[in-house]
């Protein structure tokens, strides 16, 4: 698999009146062409901040303190505005969380996609653009005749499909989806998830899918990264995360997730609450809630370490965990 994107030691802070919030701390991951990576974690774990960094859409008080994001041999962190314009939409496109807010209510859906096409693909004629939108609409399962309608005439699921069509419009190499189905009902969510996954495979795009819902992540990801309090706790192939979780947080997260299939197992509680990132805990950020924490966990931050002979230089495969006492062979 060829390497497409490489995020290395990314560290991000937000300036607030109370001080700097350490939102992302030394996060590294790689993405291969056509690979689907799911980032899972609770609110405030830094998953959306990483998306902001990848698109360089940081809020005003946000700053990248350290690290690089390499795409095609260029560092997104260091890019100027002109270079960024060439990357956004054409290389990395994004499906936003709230499709309602991502569409402008006073333009037809078609006009908005045409605008994106004209901005990012020079010398495309209006007729060509419409033709392309018709193809995109069919891809995402919308009637092409709907392109001349306004967003308010679309249902929630249709809007989300339109936003996906828009993200696909410039044939990006990477598509980022930030909780695109959270506001939808289960049946619509299921359809959208399936279509996203099919498109990602058919078009051989890489995908970064962000969600707090481990069940959704399981359905769309080849690989899963589990984040906690701004750090990557564990990363592995999807099946390995579920069969052989090594970080106590991953294990706790799985145990806390109710399922409608299989035997009704007792759900396990995780004591405490996620830390305040204005003043993160010393050492491993999970230690105040971890049942296995020892002195070393309180004092020193564990490295993001390859296990079972995985390579340090290529994070697109293999199992990695940041824990002083990784769990071995524990099943749920």
């Amino acid at each position: 698999m060829s390497l497409l994107l490489s995020v290395h030691d990314l560290t991000m802070h937000y300036a607030t009146r109370k001080g700097e919030v350490s939102a992302v701390d030394n996060v590294s991951f790689d993405l291969a062409k056509g690979q689907s990576l799911g980032l899972v974690g609770e609110s405030g774990c830094g998953k959306t901040s990483i998306v902001f960094a990848l698109m360089r859409l940081l809020p005003e008080n946000g700053m990248i303190k350290n690290g690089y994001i390499m795409l095609d041999g260029k560092d997104i962190v260091a890019m100027d505005y002109a270079a960024l314009l060439k990357v956004r939409w054409r290389k990395i496109a994004m499906v936003f969380q709230a499709a309602m807010n991502a569409l402008n209510p006073v333009y037809t859906v078609g006009q908005q996609i045409i605008e994106a096409l004209e901005l990012h693909l020079s010398n495309i004629s209006p007729a060509q653009a419409r033709e392309r939108i018709a193809i995109l609409f069919e891809l995402v399962g919308l009637d092409p005749a709907l392109m001349d309608r306004y967003p308010h005439e679309f249902s929630g699921g249709m809007r989300q499909r339109a936003v996906i069509a828009m993200a696909l419009s410039c044939s990006p190499d990477i598509i980022i989806a930030d909780e695109p189905t959270t506001a939808l009902d289960v049946i619509v969510q299921d359809r959208i998830l399936k279509r996203i996954r099919e498109l990602q495979r058919e078009l051989n795009m890489a995908m970064i899918y962000i969600s707090h819902d481990i069940a959704v992540i399981a359905e769309v990801s080849d690989r899963i990264g589990v984040m906690y309090a701004g750090r990557m706790a564990e990363m592995a192939e999807s099946a390995d995360i579920f069969d052989r979780p090594m970080h106590p947080y991953t294990y706790a997260l799985m145990g806390a997730f109710p399922s409608i299939k299989g035997k009704r197992r007792d759900l396990k509680t995780l004591p405490g609450e996620p830390p305040d990132l204005l003043d993160p805990p010393s050492g491993c950020r999970f230690h105040p809630r971890c049942p296995y924490a020892t002195d070393v966990c309180r004092e020193k931050q564990p490295d993001f370490t390859p296990v079972n002979g995985a390579s340090r230089s290529d994070l697109t495969h293999g199992h990695y965990v940041a824990c002083w006492h990784p769990m071995q062979g524990v099943t749920l």
Partner: protein, 335 residues
């Protein structure tokens, strides 16, 4: 108001409950159409058991819940509460001073703990309010009860939480305050409207377990409103599935999940993502449908989306909820 009580352990029995909201119209203009938000819904909840009310947004589950605590007045129907303290009452008809008495017995927990707590009031003020309204105990007595309850809901030590404001609490802690407030006057029945859907995974289970412990301890029953079947599985002995204002299926939880009979329930269950990457789900495909039941036509509400519908379904009124054995009820002509 009758004073007879049931002997079969029924706590709440809802019969033919309806809520129709007018659409359009105004001061001098009659509304031309109505949203049939809740349309002829009947169910019963046994003492000490909880019923999960499941359905997509806009199906009428919250409207049902709000009628049960009388935040909405029903258009028609009865809500019988069978209670040791007040006897059997039709909640749909209580008024004035009676309404106040009945609010001691029936409480509600809302979805969003960021909106349901008054930001200018301390935890103590919020939790003590029902006691003050009902005139129960003196200040010292009330303070003891609040402290005791805060301990029970896991806000310990209670004296460090009593005089905090909502903005000083996390989402999970706020929902615990809302639970304490609902329990302070010893109700027998609580309507819980998506109480954990705004909370993070690791916090959510704690609140769910707390609600179960307290239900056992105080012999409280919940009407647990949720869109999440997996959560309902853990919180409720029985599940009722709602679709466009109608109950389409109701059964014991494991029975419903293992053998869903109504096509909508089947589609719903088959669409729930499973936290297991190797599992391939078989989805039952249904067509898209309308979001609101405005003056619905006189056939099955699910007719337009149903993969099994035929002329009989089109020509007859919405089917009645019928018992197909062992209390598994379903409203479908094709079962």
């Amino acid at each position: 108001m009758t004073q007879t009580t049931y002997t079969d352990g029924t706590l709440v029995r809802v019969e033919g409950l309806k809520k129709h909201f007018p659409v359009g119209g105004g001061l001098f203009k009659r509304a031309k159409s109505h949203i049939y938000a809740v349309d002829d819904v009947s169910f019963a909840i046994q003492k000490g058991k909880s019923l999960g009310l499941v359905g997509k947004s806009g199906c009428g589950k919250t409207t049902t819940g709000k009628m049960l605590v009388r935040l909405y007045d029903p258009t028609a129907g009865h809500i019988f509460l069978n209670d040791v303290e007040v006897g059997q009452v039709d909640l749909a008809e209580v008024k004035g001073a009676q309404l106040k008495t009945f609010r001691r017995r029936v409480q509600m927990i809302f979805q969003d703990p960021y909106e349901s707590l008054n930001p200018r009031r301390t935890v103590f003020d919020t939790v003590v309010e029902p006691l003050a309204v009902q005139g129960i105990g003196d200040l010292i007595d009330r303070e003891e009860r609040v402290a005791g309850l805060l301990d029970m809901v896991g806000l310990t030590p209670a004296n460090t939480f009593m005089f905090r404001f909502p903005h000083e609490l996390s989402g999970g802690q706020r929902q615990r305050v809302a639970i304490a407030r609902a329990l302070i006057i010893d109700p027998t029945f609580i309507v819980a409207d998506e109480p954990t859907s705004m909370l993070d995974v690791s916090i959510r289970i704690g609140v769910m377990q707390l609600m179960q412990e307290l239900a056992d301890r105080f012999a409280v029953s919940y009407l647990y409103i949720t869109h999440d079947l997996a959560v309902a599985r853990y919180m409720c002995q029985d599940i009722a599935v709602m679709y466009l204002g109608k109950l389409v299926e109701m059964a014991e939880t494991e029975e419903l999940l293992a053998h869903p009979l109504h096509p909508y329930t089947q589609a719903l269950i088959s669409a729930v993502p499973i936290p297991d990457p190797r599992l391939q789900r078989e989805t039952l495909e249904i067509k898209g449908g309308i979001a609101q039941p405005i003056d619905p036509p006189l056939h099955c509400r699910f007719y337009d989306r149903c993969p099994f519908a035929d002329n009989f379904c089109r020509d007859n009124d919405h089917p009645l909820l019928e018992d197909k054995g062992d209390g598994h009820k379903v409203a479908c002509y094709k079962v």
